[in-house]
Protein backbone atom coordinates (compact mmCIF):
# COMPACT_ATOMS: atom_id res chain seq x y z
CA UNK A 1 0.00 0.00 0.00
CA UNK A 2 1.22 3.48 -0.72
CA UNK A 3 1.78 6.04 1.97
CA UNK A 4 -0.80 8.82 2.17
CA UNK A 5 1.34 11.09 4.28
CA UNK A 6 5.04 10.75 5.01
CA UNK A 7 7.02 12.68 7.58
CA UNK A 8 10.76 12.64 7.12
CA UNK A 9 12.90 13.74 10.06
CA UNK A 10 10.45 16.45 10.98
CA UNK A 11 11.53 18.80 13.73
CA UNK A 12 9.40 21.60 15.10
CA UNK A 13 10.69 24.24 17.46
CA UNK A 14 9.20 27.34 18.96
CA UNK A 15 12.06 29.69 19.67
CA UNK A 16 14.65 27.65 21.50
CA UNK A 17 12.18 25.02 22.57
CA UNK A 18 11.99 21.80 20.62
CA UNK A 19 8.42 20.53 20.53
CA UNK A 20 9.08 17.67 18.15
CA UNK A 21 12.40 16.06 17.37
CA UNK A 22 13.20 14.17 14.16
CA UNK A 23 9.84 12.53 13.64
CA UNK A 24 9.69 10.08 10.76
CA UNK A 25 6.52 8.16 10.03
CA UNK A 26 4.12 7.32 7.29
CA UNK A 27 0.40 6.68 7.23
CA UNK A 28 -0.81 3.82 5.05
CA UNK A 29 -4.13 3.68 3.23
CA UNK A 30 -6.85 1.83 5.10
CA UNK A 31 -4.94 1.56 8.37
CA UNK A 32 -5.87 2.89 11.78
CA UNK A 33 -2.88 4.50 13.41
CA UNK A 34 -3.14 5.72 16.95
CA UNK A 35 -1.00 8.37 18.48
CA UNK A 36 -0.49 8.12 22.22
CA UNK A 37 1.69 9.99 24.64
CA UNK A 38 1.61 12.12 27.77
CA UNK A 39 0.32 15.67 27.88
CA UNK A 40 2.75 18.05 26.28
CA UNK A 41 4.23 15.27 24.15
CA UNK A 42 3.51 17.26 21.00
CA UNK A 43 0.59 15.19 19.73
CA UNK A 44 -1.51 18.13 18.59
CA UNK A 45 1.55 19.79 17.05
CA UNK A 46 2.27 16.62 15.12
CA UNK A 47 -1.31 16.56 13.87
CA UNK A 48 -1.16 20.15 12.72
CA UNK A 49 2.10 19.49 10.84
CA UNK A 50 0.52 16.49 9.21
CA UNK A 51 -2.48 18.54 8.14
CA UNK A 52 -0.31 21.32 6.79
CA UNK A 53 -1.64 23.82 9.34
CA UNK A 54 1.90 24.60 10.42
CA UNK A 55 5.24 24.12 8.76
CA UNK A 56 8.13 22.12 10.23
CA UNK A 57 11.30 23.89 11.32
CA UNK A 58 13.24 21.23 9.45
CA UNK A 59 12.46 17.98 7.70
CA UNK A 60 9.76 17.26 5.15
CA UNK A 61 6.06 16.52 5.22
CA UNK A 62 4.77 14.92 2.05
CA UNK A 63 1.12 14.44 1.37
CA UNK A 64 -0.12 12.39 -1.53
CA UNK A 65 -1.25 14.62 -4.36
CA UNK A 66 -4.94 15.49 -4.03
CA UNK A 67 -5.26 13.68 -0.73
CA UNK A 68 -8.71 14.18 0.81
CA UNK A 69 -8.43 14.66 4.54
CA UNK A 70 -11.29 14.71 7.01
CA UNK A 71 -10.26 16.50 10.18
CA UNK A 72 -11.97 16.42 13.53
CA UNK A 73 -10.47 19.09 15.77
CA UNK A 74 -10.00 18.62 19.48
CA UNK A 75 -12.74 21.03 20.37
CA UNK A 76 -15.05 23.56 18.89
CA UNK A 77 -15.44 26.91 20.60
CA UNK A 78 -18.35 28.66 18.98
CA UNK A 79 -18.94 32.33 19.41
CA UNK A 80 -22.23 32.90 21.25
CA UNK A 81 -23.25 35.52 18.70
CA UNK A 82 -22.93 33.10 15.81
CA UNK A 83 -26.14 31.09 15.62
CA UNK A 84 -25.71 27.87 13.66
CA UNK A 85 -27.88 24.83 13.24
CA UNK A 86 -26.16 21.50 12.80
CA UNK A 87 -27.17 21.45 9.17
CA UNK A 88 -25.86 24.97 8.55
CA UNK A 89 -22.62 24.04 10.29
CA UNK A 90 -22.15 21.20 7.81
CA UNK A 91 -23.17 23.46 4.93
CA UNK A 92 -20.17 25.69 5.71
CA UNK A 93 -18.14 23.18 3.74
CA UNK A 94 -20.24 23.92 0.67
CA UNK A 95 -21.60 20.35 0.63
CA UNK A 96 -25.06 19.72 -0.80
CA UNK A 97 -28.03 18.76 1.35
CA UNK A 98 -27.95 15.10 0.33
CA UNK A 99 -24.27 14.74 1.21
CA UNK A 100 -24.94 16.43 4.55
CA UNK A 101 -27.76 14.04 5.35
CA UNK A 102 -25.67 11.03 4.42
CA UNK A 103 -22.69 12.00 6.49
CA UNK A 104 -24.84 12.78 9.52
CA UNK A 105 -26.28 9.32 9.14
CA UNK A 106 -22.82 7.78 8.87
CA UNK A 107 -21.76 9.56 12.05
CA UNK A 108 -24.94 8.43 13.79
CA UNK A 109 -26.23 11.94 14.32
CA UNK A 110 -29.21 12.19 11.94
CA UNK A 111 -31.56 13.20 14.71
CA UNK A 112 -29.50 16.34 15.40
CA UNK A 113 -29.91 17.90 11.97
CA UNK A 114 -32.12 20.82 13.02
CA UNK A 115 -30.60 21.39 16.45
CA UNK A 116 -28.66 24.48 17.37
CA UNK A 117 -24.91 23.88 17.63
CA UNK A 118 -24.97 25.77 20.92
CA UNK A 119 -27.24 23.31 22.67
CA UNK A 120 -25.34 20.11 21.91
CA UNK A 121 -23.78 17.88 24.55
CA UNK A 122 -20.10 16.96 24.34
CA UNK A 123 -20.85 13.63 22.70
CA UNK A 124 -23.29 15.16 20.23
CA UNK A 125 -20.80 17.85 19.27
CA UNK A 126 -18.17 15.20 18.54
CA UNK A 127 -20.64 13.30 16.36
CA UNK A 128 -21.38 16.43 14.39
CA UNK A 129 -17.67 17.18 14.00
CA UNK A 130 -17.21 13.62 12.80
CA UNK A 131 -20.02 14.11 10.29
CA UNK A 132 -18.31 17.24 9.03
CA UNK A 133 -15.00 15.40 8.68
CA UNK A 134 -16.77 12.71 6.67
CA UNK A 135 -18.16 15.28 4.23
CA UNK A 136 -14.72 15.48 2.65
CA UNK A 137 -15.12 11.82 1.58
CA UNK A 138 -11.79 11.36 3.26
CA UNK A 139 -9.01 9.00 2.30
CA UNK A 140 -7.51 9.95 5.62
CA UNK A 141 -9.48 10.76 8.73
CA UNK A 142 -7.57 12.68 11.39
CA UNK A 143 -9.19 12.70 14.81
CA UNK A 144 -7.60 14.73 17.59
CA UNK A 145 -8.79 13.31 20.90
CA UNK A 146 -12.27 12.56 19.60
CA UNK A 147 -13.47 11.39 22.99
CA UNK A 148 -12.70 14.61 24.80
CA UNK A 149 -15.65 15.90 26.78
CA UNK A 150 -17.64 12.75 26.09
CA UNK A 151 -18.99 10.59 28.91
CA UNK A 152 -17.70 7.04 29.26
CA UNK A 153 -20.46 5.16 27.48
CA UNK A 154 -20.38 7.77 24.77
CA UNK A 155 -16.63 7.29 24.40
CA UNK A 156 -17.00 3.58 23.79
CA UNK A 157 -19.73 4.21 21.24
CA UNK A 158 -17.59 6.78 19.51
CA UNK A 159 -14.58 4.48 19.29
CA UNK A 160 -16.74 1.64 18.02
CA UNK A 161 -18.05 4.08 15.42
CA UNK A 162 -14.54 4.93 14.27
CA UNK A 163 -13.62 1.27 13.78
CA UNK A 164 -16.87 0.72 11.94
CA UNK A 165 -16.31 3.71 9.68
CA UNK A 166 -12.86 2.51 8.70
CA UNK A 167 -14.32 -0.83 7.61
CA UNK A 168 -17.20 0.88 5.85
CA UNK A 169 -15.25 3.59 4.03
CA UNK A 170 -11.83 1.99 3.78
CA UNK A 171 -10.14 5.23 4.79
CA UNK A 172 -6.97 5.50 6.81
CA UNK A 173 -7.47 6.87 10.31
CA UNK A 174 -5.06 8.71 12.54
CA UNK A 175 -6.43 9.11 16.00
CA UNK A 176 -4.96 10.82 19.02
CA UNK A 177 -6.30 8.75 21.85
CA UNK A 178 -6.09 8.17 25.55
CA UNK A 179 -8.04 4.94 25.46
CA UNK A 180 -5.33 2.29 25.59
CA UNK A 181 -7.82 -0.55 25.53
CA UNK A 182 -9.21 0.54 22.20
CA UNK A 183 -5.78 1.46 20.90
CA UNK A 184 -4.50 -2.03 21.59
CA UNK A 185 -7.55 -3.90 20.39
CA UNK A 186 -8.59 -1.96 17.34
CA UNK A 187 -5.69 -0.14 15.80
CA UNK A 188 -3.23 -1.44 13.25
CA UNK A 189 -0.32 0.66 14.32
CA UNK A 190 0.59 2.62 17.41
CA UNK A 191 2.93 5.56 17.75
CA UNK A 192 4.12 6.45 21.24
CA UNK A 193 5.17 10.06 21.21
CA UNK A 194 7.05 12.05 23.75
CA UNK A 195 8.60 14.82 21.65
CA UNK A 196 10.40 12.07 19.79
CA UNK A 197 8.90 8.78 18.72
CA UNK A 198 9.49 6.45 21.66
CA UNK A 199 8.23 3.44 19.78
CA UNK A 200 6.16 2.67 16.75
CA UNK A 201 4.59 -0.53 15.49
CA UNK A 202 1.84 -3.09 15.69
CA UNK A 203 -0.01 -3.05 19.03
CA UNK A 204 1.19 -6.57 19.88
CA UNK A 205 4.81 -5.79 19.20
CA UNK A 206 4.45 -2.42 20.87
CA UNK A 207 3.11 -3.81 24.10
CA UNK A 208 6.33 -5.75 24.59
CA UNK A 209 8.54 -2.91 23.38
CA UNK A 210 10.73 -1.55 26.17
CA UNK A 211 9.82 1.96 25.08
CA UNK A 212 6.14 1.24 25.54
CA UNK A 213 6.66 -0.64 28.78
CA UNK A 214 8.51 2.24 30.30
CA UNK A 215 5.73 4.58 29.23
CA UNK A 216 2.79 2.48 30.25
CA UNK A 217 4.09 -0.41 32.39
CA UNK A 218 3.58 -4.11 31.60
CA UNK A 219 0.18 -4.36 33.15
CA UNK A 220 -2.59 -5.44 30.90
CA UNK A 221 -3.83 -2.54 28.84
CA UNK A 222 -6.28 -0.80 31.15
CA UNK A 223 -9.78 0.10 30.12
CA UNK A 224 -10.29 3.84 30.01
CA UNK A 225 -7.64 4.41 32.62
CA UNK A 226 -5.48 7.47 32.55
CA UNK A 227 -1.92 6.36 32.18
CA UNK A 228 1.14 7.51 34.00
CA UNK A 229 4.14 8.46 32.01
CA UNK A 230 7.28 7.14 33.59
CA UNK A 231 10.48 8.50 32.20
CA UNK A 232 13.38 6.21 31.57
CA UNK A 233 15.30 9.11 30.15
CA UNK A 234 15.78 12.69 31.10
CA UNK A 235 14.84 15.78 29.20
CA UNK A 236 16.94 18.89 29.23
CA UNK A 237 15.44 22.31 29.85
CA UNK A 238 14.50 22.47 26.20
CA UNK A 239 12.92 19.07 26.16
CA UNK A 240 15.73 17.35 24.30
CA UNK A 241 16.41 13.80 25.33
CA UNK A 242 19.60 13.83 27.31
CA UNK A 243 20.02 10.14 27.88
CA UNK A 244 18.44 8.04 25.15
CA UNK A 245 16.57 5.50 27.21
CA UNK A 246 14.44 4.02 24.49
CA UNK A 247 15.99 0.71 23.61
CA UNK A 248 15.06 0.69 19.99
CA UNK A 249 16.46 2.24 16.88
Amino acid sequence: MSALVTLDKVTYSVGERRILDEISLSLTAGEITSLIGPNGAGKTTLVSLLLGLSQPSSGRVERQRGLRIGYMPQKLTLNAGLPLSVDRFLALTGAGSRARRESLELAGASQLVGHSMHGLSGGETQRVLLARALLAKPQLLVLDEPAQGVDISGQQELYAKISELRNQLGCAVLVVSHDLHWVMAQTDSVICLNRHICCHGHPQSISSDPGYLTLFGDKEAPVLAPYVHEHDHDHSMHGDVVDGGCQHD
Binding site: S48, L51, G52, L53, I69, Y71, P73, L76, L78, N79, A80, G81, L82, P83, L84, S85, R88, F89, A91, L92, T93, G94, S116, H118, G119, R132, A136, V142
Partner: protein, 263 residues
Protein backbone atom coordinates in the same frame (compact mmCIF):
# COMPACT_ATOMS: atom_id res chain seq x y z
CA UNK B 1 -32.54 71.71 2.59
CA UNK B 2 -34.23 68.42 1.79
CA UNK B 3 -31.37 67.61 -0.58
CA UNK B 4 -29.01 67.80 2.34
CA UNK B 5 -31.09 65.34 4.33
CA UNK B 6 -31.51 63.05 1.34
CA UNK B 7 -27.77 62.93 0.75
CA UNK B 8 -27.14 62.24 4.42
CA UNK B 9 -29.73 59.48 4.46
CA UNK B 10 -28.32 57.87 1.32
CA UNK B 11 -24.80 58.05 2.70
CA UNK B 12 -25.85 56.47 5.98
CA UNK B 13 -27.73 53.65 4.30
CA UNK B 14 -24.85 53.01 1.89
CA UNK B 15 -22.56 52.64 4.89
CA UNK B 16 -24.70 50.34 7.02
CA UNK B 17 -25.44 47.86 4.23
CA UNK B 18 -21.89 46.45 3.98
CA UNK B 19 -21.31 47.22 7.69
CA UNK B 20 -24.01 44.72 8.73
CA UNK B 21 -22.46 41.51 7.39
CA UNK B 22 -18.89 42.71 7.88
CA UNK B 23 -19.59 43.71 11.48
CA UNK B 24 -21.12 40.29 12.11
CA UNK B 25 -17.95 38.61 10.90
CA UNK B 26 -15.79 40.94 13.00
CA UNK B 27 -17.81 39.99 16.07
CA UNK B 28 -17.63 36.27 15.36
CA UNK B 29 -13.89 36.49 14.83
CA UNK B 30 -13.55 38.48 18.07
CA UNK B 31 -11.83 41.21 16.10
CA UNK B 32 -13.72 44.19 17.47
CA UNK B 33 -10.51 45.76 18.65
CA UNK B 34 -9.08 45.43 15.17
CA UNK B 35 -11.76 47.66 13.73
CA UNK B 36 -11.00 50.17 16.45
CA UNK B 37 -7.30 50.17 15.68
CA UNK B 38 -7.89 50.68 11.98
CA UNK B 39 -10.38 53.44 12.68
CA UNK B 40 -7.98 55.30 14.95
CA UNK B 41 -5.24 55.04 12.38
CA UNK B 42 -7.55 56.72 9.87
CA UNK B 43 -6.69 60.06 11.43
CA UNK B 44 -3.09 59.51 10.43
CA UNK B 45 -4.43 59.10 6.91
CA UNK B 46 -6.25 62.42 7.24
CA UNK B 47 -3.04 64.13 8.31
CA UNK B 48 -1.18 62.58 5.41
CA UNK B 49 -3.88 63.63 2.98
CA UNK B 50 -3.75 67.24 4.18
CA UNK B 51 0.03 67.19 4.03
CA UNK B 52 0.10 65.89 0.46
CA UNK B 53 -2.82 68.10 -0.45
CA UNK B 54 -4.74 65.25 -2.05
CA UNK B 55 -8.21 63.93 -1.43
CA UNK B 56 -8.27 62.72 2.16
CA UNK B 57 -10.31 59.57 1.42
CA UNK B 58 -7.53 58.05 -0.63
CA UNK B 59 -4.78 58.55 1.92
CA UNK B 60 -7.08 57.22 4.63
CA UNK B 61 -7.78 54.12 2.57
CA UNK B 62 -4.05 53.74 1.92
CA UNK B 63 -3.06 54.06 5.59
CA UNK B 64 -5.84 51.70 6.73
CA UNK B 65 -5.03 49.08 4.12
CA UNK B 66 -1.31 49.20 4.90
CA UNK B 67 -1.99 48.88 8.63
CA UNK B 68 -4.49 46.07 7.98
CA UNK B 69 -1.88 44.16 6.00
CA UNK B 70 0.78 44.69 8.66
CA UNK B 71 -1.55 43.70 11.50
CA UNK B 72 -3.17 40.85 9.58
CA UNK B 73 -0.58 38.21 10.37
CA UNK B 74 -0.71 39.27 14.02
CA UNK B 75 -4.30 38.08 14.29
CA UNK B 76 -2.97 34.59 14.89
CA UNK B 77 -1.03 35.63 17.95
CA UNK B 78 -3.44 35.30 20.81
CA UNK B 79 -3.57 36.64 24.32
CA UNK B 80 -2.18 39.73 25.92
CA UNK B 81 0.54 40.32 23.37
CA UNK B 82 -1.95 41.05 20.65
CA UNK B 83 -4.11 43.19 22.91
CA UNK B 84 -1.28 45.45 23.92
CA UNK B 85 0.10 45.62 20.38
CA UNK B 86 -3.26 46.70 19.02
CA UNK B 87 -3.70 49.16 21.84
CA UNK B 88 -0.33 50.69 21.12
CA UNK B 89 -0.98 50.84 17.38
CA UNK B 90 -4.45 52.34 17.83
CA UNK B 91 -3.56 55.14 20.16
CA UNK B 92 -0.16 55.89 18.71
CA UNK B 93 -1.64 56.41 15.28
CA UNK B 94 -4.49 58.48 16.70
CA UNK B 95 -2.13 60.68 18.67
CA UNK B 96 0.30 60.95 15.77
CA UNK B 97 -2.59 61.93 13.52
CA UNK B 98 -3.80 64.60 15.94
CA UNK B 99 -0.30 66.04 16.34
CA UNK B 100 0.48 66.13 12.65
CA UNK B 101 -2.87 67.70 11.80
CA UNK B 102 -2.24 70.42 14.38
CA UNK B 103 1.19 71.16 12.92
CA UNK B 104 -0.29 72.02 9.57
CA UNK B 105 -1.17 75.57 8.75
CA UNK B 106 -4.74 76.71 8.44
CA UNK B 107 -7.66 75.99 10.65
CA UNK B 108 -8.88 72.44 10.26
CA UNK B 109 -12.06 71.31 11.88
CA UNK B 110 -10.95 68.11 13.54
CA UNK B 111 -14.44 67.42 14.82
CA UNK B 112 -15.54 66.61 11.31
CA UNK B 113 -13.04 63.77 11.22
CA UNK B 114 -13.38 62.59 14.80
CA UNK B 115 -17.16 62.54 14.88
CA UNK B 116 -18.08 62.75 11.22
CA UNK B 117 -20.31 65.19 9.48
CA UNK B 118 -22.95 63.28 7.61
CA UNK B 119 -24.89 66.48 6.91
CA UNK B 120 -21.90 67.79 4.99
CA UNK B 121 -22.07 64.91 2.51
CA UNK B 122 -22.50 66.24 -0.99
CA UNK B 123 -23.70 64.59 -4.16
CA UNK B 124 -20.09 64.25 -5.32
CA UNK B 125 -19.18 62.24 -2.21
CA UNK B 126 -21.97 59.79 -2.83
CA UNK B 127 -20.27 58.39 -5.93
CA UNK B 128 -17.21 57.13 -4.06
CA UNK B 129 -19.33 55.93 -1.17
CA UNK B 130 -21.68 54.02 -3.45
CA UNK B 131 -18.78 52.45 -5.31
CA UNK B 132 -17.07 51.28 -2.13
CA UNK B 133 -20.33 50.14 -0.57
CA UNK B 134 -21.14 48.12 -3.66
CA UNK B 135 -17.64 46.67 -3.85
CA UNK B 136 -17.63 45.63 -0.19
CA UNK B 137 -21.13 44.17 -0.30
CA UNK B 138 -20.32 42.26 -3.47
CA UNK B 139 -17.09 40.82 -2.08
CA UNK B 140 -18.76 39.80 1.17
CA UNK B 141 -21.62 38.11 -0.67
CA UNK B 142 -19.18 36.35 -2.95
CA UNK B 143 -17.18 34.79 -0.10
CA UNK B 144 -19.82 34.83 2.62
CA UNK B 145 -19.93 31.10 3.29
CA UNK B 146 -16.15 30.87 3.41
CA UNK B 147 -15.88 33.84 5.77
CA UNK B 148 -18.44 32.29 8.13
CA UNK B 149 -16.57 28.98 7.94
CA UNK B 150 -13.33 30.69 8.98
CA UNK B 151 -15.07 32.49 11.83
CA UNK B 152 -16.47 29.16 13.00
CA UNK B 153 -13.23 27.20 12.99
CA UNK B 154 -10.16 28.47 11.24
CA UNK B 155 -8.15 25.24 11.17
CA UNK B 156 -11.09 23.20 9.96
CA UNK B 157 -11.69 25.67 7.15
CA UNK B 158 -8.05 25.48 6.14
CA UNK B 159 -7.96 21.66 6.13
CA UNK B 160 -11.11 21.75 4.01
CA UNK B 161 -9.16 23.68 1.43
CA UNK B 162 -10.23 27.31 1.87
CA UNK B 163 -7.52 29.89 1.15
CA UNK B 164 -7.74 31.15 4.73
CA UNK B 165 -4.77 33.51 4.68
CA UNK B 166 -6.00 35.26 1.54
CA UNK B 167 -9.56 35.52 2.82
CA UNK B 168 -8.32 37.07 6.04
CA UNK B 169 -6.48 39.70 4.04
CA UNK B 170 -9.64 40.35 2.05
CA UNK B 171 -11.52 40.81 5.30
CA UNK B 172 -8.92 43.26 6.62
CA UNK B 173 -9.02 45.30 3.44
CA UNK B 174 -12.81 45.40 3.55
CA UNK B 175 -12.71 46.74 7.10
CA UNK B 176 -10.14 49.31 6.05
CA UNK B 177 -12.29 50.46 3.14
CA UNK B 178 -15.39 50.80 5.28
CA UNK B 179 -13.50 52.70 7.95
CA UNK B 180 -12.18 55.09 5.33
CA UNK B 181 -15.59 55.94 3.94
CA UNK B 182 -17.42 55.72 7.25
CA UNK B 183 -15.15 58.35 8.73
CA UNK B 184 -17.08 61.08 6.95
CA UNK B 185 -20.35 59.83 8.38
CA UNK B 186 -19.80 58.89 12.01
CA UNK B 187 -16.13 59.78 12.41
CA UNK B 188 -13.06 57.76 13.32
CA UNK B 189 -14.00 57.43 16.97
CA UNK B 190 -17.40 55.91 16.33
CA UNK B 191 -17.10 53.99 13.07
CA UNK B 192 -16.30 50.70 14.74
CA UNK B 193 -19.40 51.14 16.92
CA UNK B 194 -21.49 51.16 13.78
CA UNK B 195 -19.84 47.91 12.71
CA UNK B 196 -20.24 46.14 16.04
CA UNK B 197 -23.44 47.29 17.71
CA UNK B 198 -26.00 46.41 15.00
CA UNK B 199 -24.36 42.99 14.56
CA UNK B 200 -24.43 42.36 18.30
CA UNK B 201 -28.10 43.35 18.42
CA UNK B 202 -29.03 41.05 15.56
CA UNK B 203 -26.84 38.21 16.84
CA UNK B 204 -28.98 37.80 19.92
CA UNK B 205 -32.18 37.49 17.92
CA UNK B 206 -31.15 35.30 15.03
CA UNK B 207 -31.05 31.63 14.24
CA UNK B 208 -28.78 31.65 11.21
CA UNK B 209 -25.68 33.65 10.26
CA UNK B 210 -27.64 35.19 7.39
CA UNK B 211 -30.30 36.46 9.77
CA UNK B 212 -27.58 38.13 11.82
CA UNK B 213 -26.21 39.91 8.75
CA UNK B 214 -29.61 41.04 7.49
CA UNK B 215 -30.73 41.96 10.99
CA UNK B 216 -27.59 44.03 11.44
CA UNK B 217 -28.37 45.89 8.22
CA UNK B 218 -31.92 46.52 9.46
CA UNK B 219 -30.69 47.76 12.85
CA UNK B 220 -28.14 49.96 11.11
CA UNK B 221 -30.82 51.47 8.86
CA UNK B 222 -33.07 52.19 11.84
CA UNK B 223 -30.16 53.84 13.63
CA UNK B 224 -29.45 56.03 10.60
CA UNK B 225 -33.10 57.11 10.38
CA UNK B 226 -33.27 57.76 14.10
CA UNK B 227 -29.96 59.59 14.28
CA UNK B 228 -30.77 61.84 11.34
CA UNK B 229 -34.23 62.57 12.68
CA UNK B 230 -32.78 63.60 16.00
CA UNK B 231 -30.09 65.68 14.28
CA UNK B 232 -32.73 67.42 12.20
CA UNK B 233 -35.23 68.00 14.97
CA UNK B 234 -33.08 68.45 18.05
CA UNK B 235 -29.91 69.68 16.37
CA UNK B 236 -27.80 66.93 17.94
CA UNK B 237 -24.56 65.90 16.20
CA UNK B 238 -25.63 63.40 13.54
CA UNK B 239 -22.83 60.83 13.75
CA UNK B 240 -22.99 60.27 17.50
CA UNK B 241 -26.80 60.33 17.34
CA UNK B 242 -26.75 57.43 14.90
CA UNK B 243 -24.55 55.44 17.27
CA UNK B 244 -26.78 56.35 20.22
CA UNK B 245 -29.79 55.01 18.34
CA UNK B 246 -27.94 51.81 17.47
CA UNK B 247 -27.05 51.33 21.12
CA UNK B 248 -30.60 52.14 22.25
CA UNK B 249 -31.88 49.46 19.91
CA UNK B 250 -29.42 46.99 21.39
CA UNK B 251 -30.56 47.66 24.95
CA UNK B 252 -34.25 47.75 24.02
CA UNK B 253 -34.01 44.32 22.43
CA UNK B 254 -31.90 42.85 25.21
CA UNK B 255 -34.84 41.17 27.02
CA UNK B 256 -36.25 39.83 23.76
CA UNK B 257 -32.98 38.18 22.85
CA UNK B 258 -32.52 36.50 26.17
CA UNK B 259 -35.90 34.79 26.17
CA UNK B 260 -35.34 33.24 22.76
CA UNK B 261 -31.71 32.35 23.15
CA UNK B 262 -31.92 28.78 24.41
CA UNK B 263 -35.07 27.49 22.80
Amino acid sequence: MTDLLLYALTAGLLLVIPAGPLGSIILWQRMAYYGDTLAHSALLGVALGLLLDTQVEFTVIAVCVVLALVLGPLHRISGNNLDSLLGIAAHTSLALGLVSVSLQSGAIDLNAYLFGDILAVRASDLGLLAAISLLCTGLILWRWNALVAIATHRDLAQVEGLPVARLEILQMVLIALLVAVGMKIVGVLLISALLIIPAATAGRLSRTPEQVALGAIACGCLAVFGGLYSAWQLDTPAGPSIVVFAAALFFLLLPVGRSRRRV
